[in-house]
Amino acid sequence: MEFNVTNHQLCVGDIKITGVASSALFLIGDVQTVQLSSAFDTPPESLIIGPFVPVSPEG
């Protein structure tokens, strides 16, 4: 595959961001390669109803 890119003028005004979190990336510039991976888990099993103080391990 041939992929040709021509970068003409790029002018951005002001940027307001509340938060950049959990291995997120905010970049002004050129980059060769980017690999992002994210896993988030909050299944019904993670809701523990009981008096036990230490959190019991589960998948």
Binding site: N7, D14, I15, I17, F26, G29, V31, F40, D41
Partner: protein
């Protein structure tokens, strides 16, 4: 290869925490990695909890990386060699995040977050008073 120059008027952040980076200038590699166990409990005290990342599958499973099926020949030309950006205001940068100005070679970022909620079994004795009840007596 990289010929563009990033021009930012100002860069402001209130908080940069938990191994986050504010990078100004060109970079060869960025490798960010964050693991988090978020425990929410209904308790007056929140002491040490004996939990380990290895007890949960989400921290063990391999990450998915899409495969390249064919070689891609890329060619860039930059008639305008600048990226102009005005004022940047970021309230918070957290958990191995990166805010960068400049060109970067290769970036790899990974995040794994596990939420756990723990609520007591017994209904608490602190009964909520019904404000609609006996309203005529209060008058």
């Amino acid at each position: 290869m990289f010929s563009r120059i990033s021009k930012v008027k100002s860069l402001l952040s209130d908080t940069v925490s938990f191994c986050s980076t504010m990078q100004i200038g060109d970079t060869s590699y960025i490798d960010g990695y964050a693991l988090a166990l978020a425990v929410q409990k209904k308790s007056e005290t929140f002491g040490a909890v004996d939990i380990q990342f290895r007890d949960y599958d989400i921290f063990k499973r391999p990450i998915y990386i899409p495969r390249l099926y064919e070689p891609v020949n890329t060619r860039f030309s930059n008639p305008n060699p600048f990226i102009h950006v005005g004022n940047i205001n970021i309230i918070g940068i957290s958990s191995s995040s990166v805010v960068g100005v400049g060109n970067v070679g290769h970036i790899r970022m990974e995040s794994r977050v596990k939420h756990i909620r723990q609520v007591p079994k017994q209904a608490e004795d602190t009964s909520i008073e019904d404000s609609t009840e006996d309203s005529t007596n209060n008058a």
